[in-house]
């Protein structure tokens, strides 16, 4: 394990955070090097108590390995908030590895990695695409390109967070695997479908999760094989360089329905989106559910009075704030069913991922979208069409946090750069309130939250990110999206540098500063040796 011992208290904090999220049995089996680091912290009381606390947690950990971690984490988070430093990651370009498995702009990435390392960034995030790795035939994996990137990252001394992407990307264009699209040509039912019969070809419908639609295998099995293959191909990196893995859960990797097939086109206001329950399998499930509930007529389709994609909530009856059908018994029936399908899909995938990576030292993450448009209405249609039964009178994110807690997964939330102030007034949107709501649910269930931004260049983005990172709840890590020409451009990079440097300042605390000069000097000397050995090794 890389432990660079530097005098600054900041460094000690990094180590501590690592302790927190690593497998504790492993940590305490090691020698006392770590304690040395802690002892350098002047606040020795704090150090003592922390060790004992971790030891206790470690014991529990062994008893029930999977469930202990969140408990431990939330404890440390609340008690040592002021000392924790958020780990900052930067996303690599989406097309870091091309379709033919070569690394795109290798030299740029290499230089970029070095720059990030120098800047003090902890690691990078790498999207690994289903459509690249398993493109030609089922079970035929080609990891070489991604392995090269992992090596580069390792060499740069950075950590790696891998996002397993079982969806397609529009820009740059990375479709689903060829063989899946081929199957889709004859069986469009494997895709989400909207009321007008349009298919969403950028990920598979959750209704086929357990149906043998892919050459006799279920998508869940295919995802599992993919993850297993990933695990064995990257075994030298897992737990060392690779510290986190995000499981792709749906469109754009997020746990949701593709309630918008396309990004909003003309005009600036995002519409409410549409329900995506019109592929044959979804309709079948709905039908069964309706019959079981004694209302067979409710199972014939989705709400007839929902608006279309780019319309506002009031353009039809379903989402109307007062007297809308969403509040009727039918509305409740439909929305409960629609959201429960999404929740169980999320549960399936997260438990798959956490069982595969349980015996490794990596954390498993899942991403939940921030459907903040129309949040200020009572019906919150954007949440509803995306599959979260979250209205003014019902918290739809409790159930989400629960499946993350159950599977010991951490939650990634995007949009940490969005502020209410910069949202178009007419969209009645409130990214900040929604974020608070989800994070509250997570805190309640002991789920750690990692952050992401949505787009850079938006006014006030950095300030908002900072606010989110250093607020009440501590973020597990923050991933800045994403490396590319603009990221390093003279217009952007200096402000990013400024942002990184400013991040660590507020945590400066009087008792973080070294007390005795001798002590500090001594530690500088001892630090040089391990460093040199590390480099020689």
């Amino acid at each position: 394990m890389e432990v660079s011992v530097i005098r600054s208290s900041c460094q000690a904090k990094i180590c501590k955070t690592e302790l927190g999220y690593r497998d504790l049995r492993f940590c305490f089996g090691k020698n006392h090097d770590k304690n040395k680091i802690f002892s350098r912290k002047p606040n020795s009381v704090c150090y003592e108590s922390q060790i004992t606390r971790l030891r206790k947690a470690g014991l529990r950990f062994t008893v029930k390995a999977v469930h202990c971690e969140p408990i431990l984490e939330s404890k440390s988070a609340t008690r040592f908030k002021s000392l924790d430093r958020v780990r900052l990651f930067v996303g690599l370009p989406l097309d870091a590895v091309s379709e033919c498995n070569t690394v795109n702009h290798t030299r740029a990435i290499a230089a970029g990695l070095k720059a990030l390392k120098l800047l003090g960034v902890e690691g990078v995030e790498l999207p690994v695409w289903w459509g690249v790795v398993e493109n030609q035939a089922m079970g035929k994996y080609e990891w070489s390109g991604y392995l090269t990137v992992a090596e580069m990252v390792q060499k740069a001394g950075l950590k790696l967070h891998v996002s397993l992407c079982f969806h397609a990307s529009r820009q740059p264009k990375i479709p689903l695997p060829n063989w899946v699209l081929e199957i889709g040509k004859s069986q469009s039912r494997i895709f989400f479908t909207d009321r007008s019969g349009r298919c969403y070809q950028e990920c598979l419908s959750l209704a086929v999760d357990d149906l043998s639609v892919l050459n006799g295998k279920t998508p869940i099995q295919v995802y599992q094989d993919f993850c297993e293959s990933f695990k064995s191909a990257f075994s030298p990196f897992i737990g060392r360089t690779i510290t986190g893995i995000s499981m792709g859960l749906g469109p754009d990797g997020e746990l949701r329905y593709p309630s918008h097939h396309k990004p909003a086109k003309s005009g600036t206001i995002t519409g409410v989106g549409e329900f995506q329950c019109y592929d044959i399998n979804m309709l079948n499930l709905l039908k069964q559910h309706a019959e079981a509930n004694g209302n067979p007529l409710w199972g014939l389709g989705g709400p007839h009075d929902a608006p279309t994609y780019n319309e506002s909530p009031n353009s039809n009856n379903f989402f109307t704030d007062h007297g809308g059908s969403w509040e009727s018994p039918y509305g409740d029936f439909f929305l409960s069913w629609y959201s429960s399908q999404l929740i169980s899909h999320g549960d399936r995938l997260l438990s798959l991922a956490s069982s595969i990576f349980r015996d490794t030292a990596v954390n498993v993450y899942g991403k939940v979208p921030l459907m903040h448009s129309w949040y200020k209405t009572r019906a919150r249609p954007s949440d509803l069409t995306a599959g979260f039964y979250n209205t003014a009178s019902r918290d739809g994110y409790e159930a989400v946090a629960e499946i993350f807690a159950r599977n010991s997964c951490k939650m990634i939330l995007p949009g940490m750069d969005l502020s209410d102030e910069h949202q178009p007034h007419e969209s009645l949107s409130s990214p900040e309130s929604l974020l608070v709501q989800i994070r509250t649910a997570c805190r309640k269930h002991g789920v750690d939250v990692a952050g992401q931004n949505l787009a850079y260049g938006a006014p006030g983005g950095f300030a908002q990110i900072k606010k989110n990172m250093l607020g009440e709840d501590v973020l597990d890590l923050f991933t800045f999206q994403r490396m590319g020409a603009h990221f390093f451009s003279p217009e952007h990079f200096p402000s990013f540098t400024e942002f990184v440097r400013s991040l660590s300042q507020p945590e400066l605390h009087l008792d973080d500063l070294p007390i005795k000069e001798e002590e500090a000097t001594a530690s500088v000397n001892t630090s040089s040796d391990p460093n040199i050995h590390m480099q020689a090794a």
Partner: protein, 892 residues
Amino acid sequence: MATVAIDSLLQNPRLSVSPKAKLLLQLSRSLNCSRNRKLLFSRGACFCSFKPRRQIHAVNASSTDTALIDTFDTSSSDDVLYKETFPVKRIDKVEGKIFIRLDQSKDQRNWQLTIGCSLPGKWILHWGVSYVGDNGSEWDQPPKEMRPPGSIPIKDYAIETPLKKLSKGDMFHEVKIKLIPRSGIAAIHFVLKDEETGAWYQHRGRDFKVPLVDYLEDDGNMIGPKRGFGIWAGALGQLTNMLLKAEASPANSQKSSSESNDSKNQTRQREGFYEEQPIVKEVSIGNLVSVAVRKSPDTTKNVLYLETDIPGDVLVHWGVCRDDSKTWEIPAAPYPPETAVFKNKALRTLLQPKSIGHRSRALFTLDEEIVGFLFVLKLDDNTWLNFKGNDFYIPLTGASSVPGQHGESDTSSEEISSKAYTDGIINEIRNLVSGINSEKSQKTKTKEAQESILQEIEKLAAEAYSIFRSSIPTFSEEVVLETEAPKPSVKIPSGTGTGFEILCQGFNWESHKSGRWYMELKEKALEISSLGFTVIWLPPPTESVSAEGYMPTDLYNLNSRYGTIDELKELVKNLHDAGLKVLGDVVLNHRCAHFQNQNGVWNIFGGRLNWDDRAVVGDDPHFQGRGNKSSGDNFHAAPNIDHSQEFVRKDLKEWLVWLRDEIGYDGWRLDFVRGFWGGYVKDYLDASTPYFAVGEYWDSLSYTYGEMDHNQDAHRQRIIDWINATNGTAGAFDVSTKGILHSALERCEYWRLSDQKGKPPGVVGWWPSRAVTFIENHDTGSTQGHWRFPGGKELQGYAYILTHPGTPAVFYDHISSHYRSEIAALISLRNRNKIHCRSTVKIVKAERDVYAAIIDEKVAMKIGPGYYEPPGGPQRWSSVLEGKDYKVWEAC
């Protein structure tokens, strides 16, 4: 090959505690720390086995052999320039033997098997048994009583028992296994494992097999009184990495009396035996190479002394260098004895054995100007010793003994040292970034360090930026070229007019309604011309399913809802007379069929171009085309034409040429060019040589959660890509600029009007001469209103596009509205100041509520409610136009 006595491993070099050496060591260490160089053998230097003496005369050094050692200890080392001991590792092979003995214990009742080994190591016997009647090669675990103490079961088939030293200091290891009578055990199987090296020792590729009953079939690996001959190799496969000598083992086995018996003795009498097997073990042996350099007090030369404890003949393969480049050179004589020149590149000196110890050494006298001494050691033809992959390098000048030029630092590869450097600054930047400002840390980090780190980061970011950027198709050079504004007289290549064009869209979505639009427009020709327009764009002229003309059927039938072909010709003539160039709106992407095919699908064309379904793209299921896949996006309301078909292209080219000749069109407005590859457009334009051509490449800008992204580079890049595909023969409507203006004006975010490089954020910022800027057309506005420009702010839009580079286009509705006079003023200002499509624009303000720019240093403009006055004020600039939230100045 040198076979080395094992005890060389244990050889202890003498410790030297020369104070000078210690000092040097300290120095180098601290330097290592600060420079983040590797400290490879600081410890090794502690047992430096040699000290230089005060006076060494190179020439006679070899004859003073014996004296050397004695003088070392007493001599002071003041004049030592360099002193270092290098640990070296070499692989050697040691021979030993495994012995196997089966005998009866003293009481003559119990048998025991003894297995031993004569080599040092951590030997483990990995063994099992087979029972009488067993088939196959599977082992069983022996009964518990048989297992010697310390045995560990391995799964369910084997036992591992460590061999024990017979006595302390002895190298002999052995283990005894007591055999149990009547246990039914047919044989004991084993292999030997050395835990130190992880090597397995087998017998002829298989396990050793000691038969305990003599009717076992020998399958090749049997040991003992039975015949040891006629052995053939079997495949065990399970255990590998064996290093047993290949000679036939029976050669040195002492079979005592068994030899004569074994073929005849058919009794079940168990016989004792003793057998030895030779084994060879590879051991890694550490040796030391000590080097010291002294100044010779009598001469100006340096004396280098080299000594090693490597046994046997050691050849020093050496050279010198005169600068830091470390190029090998042969120095001038004299050389030490036993020196030969090797291929004119190096010298080879055989080290002379010393009289005491297992050492050998040599003395080299070197000229003062020689900077370094390079060498490797050659032990035999196949064994070379170097220093971690590089030559040993001994610096000879006093100054060069700093670690920077020290031999050891060069042993790390370039990559490692650069990483080391990086890691070093990372540590420092952590301090820096964390921003701890206590006085303490101020002391440890210098200002220069901080700056060098920041510079390093900047350098790396710049490198990454340039590469990432260059992977986007280049256009910047183009911009540079074009900003060298052409003189008005310069003739611009086809497709872009003179560069001073101002376009008028001569119709709207309702123009077909009257049925006589051509005639109505004819009346306005002079008026339009007098407003300052130079080009007019007419509606699609062909027969069409829809009245507006965008669903063409027979391309050669130009009687439409706008008028007849003759009226069109008359109109064009009138427009020409008024000094206007005329653009025809041509729909090349799709064409509506006249007839159904046998499936009832409309895909058979009539009229003069009576194509069949081969002219229709094959990837739109609605129209069951038999052509190739579309080279662009599909327009779903009509059959998309397959431009990859030769006959289609030929027909379309002919048609365009016909339109040019017959009607007199000067150029084209190309509808829905997203639908097919820009390369085909180039084909069509090359054939029809238009004066001006512009394509409608309209797709969505980038929005994130309803908010338009500031950076629309991807969007404008797609348009640029299309223009590129046409080889620049056509321009394109600047949809990016329109979209950005929407957001900027509607939401008071005028900062959007400057991109990250301080240029206009639309296509006009990248490729102005091909950008046709506009704020509204028949689709976005008019009665369709698909993407209407923010109401009431049209004039701000026109103040922008009519003062900026690019070719501006004005929508018919706006010139027939109350905006007319202000638009006319803006057009006349543009013409008066000779602003053209490649004019330079300098953005001077792009803030929340105001955007201001100076164009060609002749015109200043601002839009937005915020305040702006051009520099120098009224004495340099005179305000010529002012309206709601816009203002334009001309230079005095």
